[in-house]
Symmetry: C2
Subunit: 284 residues, 2 copies
């Protein structure tokens, strides 16, 4: 049984074909252009395969309220050509098979839950720290959604006492994304994070914001594991710092188990998006 | 069909009998003493009724992991006589009917969702602001749980610029509960909140903390409505202040609809606990 999985990102779209075990049989990366040209390339790739179902992990904002008239459509986005594009509807119309759609971070979380760092737990939160900050939750095999999809990267966090940076979020200034995303690090310190080496002040501040966010996520969502991915998390120095700060902030208030098992790196790297999209189409 | 509902609090336990419409047919309040004496009084009250099922909203911490050996047991609590008491097991053993258990705040949320201020939405978050701060979420008729139950009252929030109070939470100092619970207001200002009148500085600071928390809850859980109850929320001045601050902090980043419909007062007052416990036993 062949299952399609699409990772739809703002700069590239990865199309893949796999099966329910998570094995990828074919894969192709496409540059994200206008919706019609991009859709034509997606159709061309899949024309060689007979799919049973298709899963999509999409950039947002996207309407995921199944009761809504605009379910599966791209909402208000700076990529104006995609605004109000009926991504789900157009894919269903073309493929005439069941198509499932969710956010990119939820799908990434599902991939890790099914095949990666979350495969031996009942619930996990995947946080990506890169150009932006986002997070997705999977519980008992299902991705979590509210009225609209969560935007966990924009929560309020207490300012680090030695940090006078005002933040770069155009909506909230000093929210988590405004203070701790890759561009925030670059703006605060004048250089990209990977050029800043192990400067302890840089990562002390970064770990402070991420640890406060992780504590809030844990107290609100109570996941069994937290997986931290994205470009910023390639700095190995961050993991021990974050674990130490979360442990101190939590102060044994809720059970998290061994911090090395509670806060982990992802395992799937490049194939996380398509593996998650395929897992979404496989179902629980 | 008669359904039992027990609101098990730290100072009193309310036993009730009702039906699936939410109507309460009989009710009795018992002082919370040792677990055996209290259980005897519960049994005595229900000896006059033939129940089909029983729901319990309990003080915590309580083990709500169905896969755990200690499911339904009271965990580490300052009320030492209740520590490790098998509340669910003992009730099941006595009544020999299905017994359902959840946290007091989850059950309160379920009551408002079914019969109160949340009855026309698909998801709601109930926040109680009193001696402590806690919150429960209901989505599509089900209460939300993670690995253990959430402890949403203890999240980190940014300090108000005019507030130098250090907070009173024994675990986290200046977490939400440490800064905005009833005892925190009393400690900061030297008098209980209801004696402080409409002093704008008091409620400006209080609204700041609650608004930041509501923004985080909204970005993480994306509920359709937020219901604010508990003793502190009896100060009418708080609702407009909180709505105004949430609106400003959110800055139209996610859709919340009309703020007067998004943030509301509870409707059920005294019967919230037992109505929620009965709703829990009725099921989705």
């Amino acid at each position: 049984m062949l299952i399609g999985g699409i990772e739809a990102g703002g700069t590239k779209i990865v199309c893949a074909v796999g099966d329910s075990t998570g094995e990828i049989k074919a894969k192709q990366s496409i540059s994200t252009r206008g919706p019609d040209e991009t859709l034509a390339e997606i159709k061309a790739f899949y024309s060689n395969y007979k799919l049973e179902t298709l899963g999509v992990g999409s950039f947002g904002p996207i309407d995921l309220d199944k009761n809504s008239d605009t379910y599966g459509m791209i909402l208000n986005t700076p990529k104006t050509a995609w605004k109000h594009f009926d991504l789900l509807g157009r894919l269903q119309q073309h493929f005439q098979i069941p198509v499932y759609i969710d956010t990119d971070v939820n799908v990434a979380c599902l991939a890790e839950y099914r095949h990666g760092a979350g495969r031996n737990v009942n619930s996990c939160l995947y946080i990506t720290v890169g150009t932006g900050i986002g997070a997705g939750l999977v519980q008992e095999g299902r991705t979590f959604q509210g009225r609209s999809h969560p935007e966990m990267g924009h929560i309020s966090i207490p300012q680090h006492p030695d940090d006078s940076f005002a933040g770069i979020c155009p909506y909230h200034g000093n929210c988590l994304e405004g203070m701790a995303s890759g561009p925030a690090i670059e703006k605060r310190h004048g250089r990209e994070g990977h050029l800043l080496g192990d400067d302890s002040n840089v990562w002390e501040i970064e770990a402070h914001y991420l640890a406060h966010a992780i504590v809030s996520y844990t107290l609100i969502l109570s996941p069994e594991r937290i997986i931290l991915g994205g470009g910023v998390m390639k700095q190995d120095v961050l993991f021990p710092l974050i674990r130490q700060k979360v442990s101190k902030l939590m102060n044994d208030y809720v059970y998290t188990g061994d911090m090395n098992e509670f806060i982990m790196a992802p395992e799937l790297d490049d194939e996380q998006g398509v593996k998650g999209a395929i897992a979404l189409a496989v179902g629980v």
